[in-house]
């Protein structure tokens, strides 16, 4: 359970990190929090020849909240987002979701950019980013490009990020004020990988009807799944347990989760419906209180 030998670089700025990444190419691996990469290296499932440790690049660690957007640097750690009062004020979903990630020891080191780039379909951040319509800025020696979650997540642990790119910034739009959020997940033990996770947002109009709603599931496919079919029928209606239950029944026909040692496909579908109902109801209740 010891990693194989590697060469270690810890650049002090982004420019140097990108130069090293360009130089070593596929032999190199970027290390941010290391909470997924180091276990894989310890078990020798990953044997990178070169580690480019970006932990000293302080310019990549920040949280900026403006009127319309939350900007988070790729190296910002989970606990920093979890404990940010400003983020809790404008986007409580993130605060709720961060607490579901691993344990406090993991959140001390793990980074927002690292978790997104790792792209585990059962992880909380990819699901939250997809629900919230986040955009990611990727830097390479040639410049920067910005991609949507739809463009970014390709399949299990696979994204559109190029060999010479680093995720430097995450932009999350702040929605209208009367929006309630919720996230919840089914795990075998607290802090384990989720079997199924669900996140929802519900925005209410002045008259109490649903102006917009979104539902995103994790653990059912290689990427987070936005289920517009479920939520579009709810628009213009007054939220109720019956409406949400009825809308969620069709999830069984919309997802085809793969079975594994932990849960059959059928059981996962059941969990999807249960958790989708739960988060939509909670989001609607919270929106009504705003």
């Amino acid at each position: 359970m010891k990693p194989a030998v590697f060469d270690y670089h810890s650049p002090a700025d982004l420019e140097e990190a990108l130069r090293l990444l360009d130089e070593f190419g596929y032999d190199a691996k970027i290390m941010s929090g290391g909470q997924s990469l180091i276990p894989m290296m310890n078990m020798r499932l990953a044997r990178p020849q070169v580690i480019i440790d970006i932990n000293n690049i302080s310019e990549l660690s920040y949280i900026q909240v403006t009127d319309s957007v939350i900007k988070i640097g790729g190296l910002t750690r989970h606990y920093q987002v979890e404990e940010s009062k400003e983020i809790e004020r404008v986007c409580p979903l993130l605060t709720e979701g961060m607490k579901l990630i691993g344990h406090s020891q993991i959140r001390s080191r793990g980074t927002i950019g690292g978790s997104i780039v790792h792209a585990d379909p059962t992880a909380e951040l990819p699901v939250m980013m997809t629900l919230l319509g986040a955009e990611f800025t990727l830097a390479s020696p040639d410049g920067k490009r910005t991609v949507t979650t739809d463009e970014f997540f390709l399949t299990y642990l696979t994204t559109t990020i190029d060999m010479n790119e680093i995720l430097v910034s995450i932009d999350i739009p702040i929605p209208s004020t009367r929006t309630g959020y919720a996230i919840d997940e089914f795990t075998l033990r607290k802090g384990d990988f989720a079997i199924v996770l669900a996140a929802a947002s519900v925005t209410l109009s002045e008259d109490g009807t649903i102006a917009s709603a979104s539902l995103c599931l994790g653990g059912v496919d290689g990427v987070p799944v936005l289920l517009e079919e479920v939520t579009e029928g709810m628009i213009g209606q007054v939220p109720s347990t019956e409406l949400i239950a009825e809308s969620c029944e069709q999830i069984a026909d919309l997802v085809e989760p793969e079975p594994d040692i932990h849960a059959s496909s059928e059981y996962r579908k059941d969990l999807c419906i249960t958790y989708a109902k739960r988060v939509l109801e909670r989001a609607a209740e919270r929106a009504a209180l705003l």
């Binding site: 060469d7 270690y8 810890s10 276990p39 406090s104 080191r109």
Partner: protein, 183 residues
């Protein structure tokens, strides 16, 4: 790839500064145990599940098997050896684990203590549910957690009592790390 690519690091562990040369692939848990001789930090699963190797790094709990030694350069580390006073008197958490039988084999205990120590600093008056959440990153295969939760609850009371006593300095007793000494 070079054969020997060791790097020199300087880190502070329990208030004492150490400088040592480590290979980049050496985990912080192994640096503490094998290079610095601080074997109180236990190594269980080595992939971030069991929590036995939990220490605090710059004031935050981390799994020392998921940090490389080179990454701890200039860091402030606290391990289980840093809990008791230099004269050997126990930290309230250690006393409470003793009192409440919060361990059996003791393998997970250093990690549990370090997690609980940080947790109680953040939340001095936790509910039992919050304590369970606070130690959820540590696996114990002996106790079923009941006595661990009891011990953390007792430690919280002791720490709060100590804090109160320290404020009431007129009292004719000295409270030292949870142990009351009549004078």
């Amino acid at each position: 790839m070079t054969q020997s690519n060791s790097k020199e690091i300087t880190l502070t562990v329990n208030g004492k500064q150490y400088t040592t040369s480590v290979e980049p692939r050496m985990l912080l848990s192994d640096v503490l145990r094998d290079e610095l001789g601080l074997t109180g930090t236990h190594v269980g699963c080595e992939h971030g599940i069991c929590g036995a190797c939990t220490i605090t790094m710059d004031g935050r709990p981390v799994r020392s098997c998921l940090v490389f030694g080179v990454q701890a350069n200039q860091a402030e580390i606290r391990t289980v050896e840093g809990l008791a006073e230099p004269d050997g008197s126990l930290h309230p958490l250690q006393e409470a684990f003793w009192e409440k039988h919060g361990l059996q084999c003791g393998f997970c205990t250093p990690g549990v203590l370090m997690s609980a120590c940080h947790f109680l600093e953040q939340n001095p008056n936790p509910s039992r549910e919050e304590i369970r959440e606070g130690i959820s990153g540590n696996l114990c295969r002996c106790t079923g957690y009941q006595n661990i939760v009891d011990a953390v609850e007792m430690a919280a009371e002791m720490l709060n009592k100590n804090k109160k006593s320290e404020e009431e300095t007129s009292d004719l007793e000295i409270v030292h790390s949870g142990r009351k000494v009549e004078v």
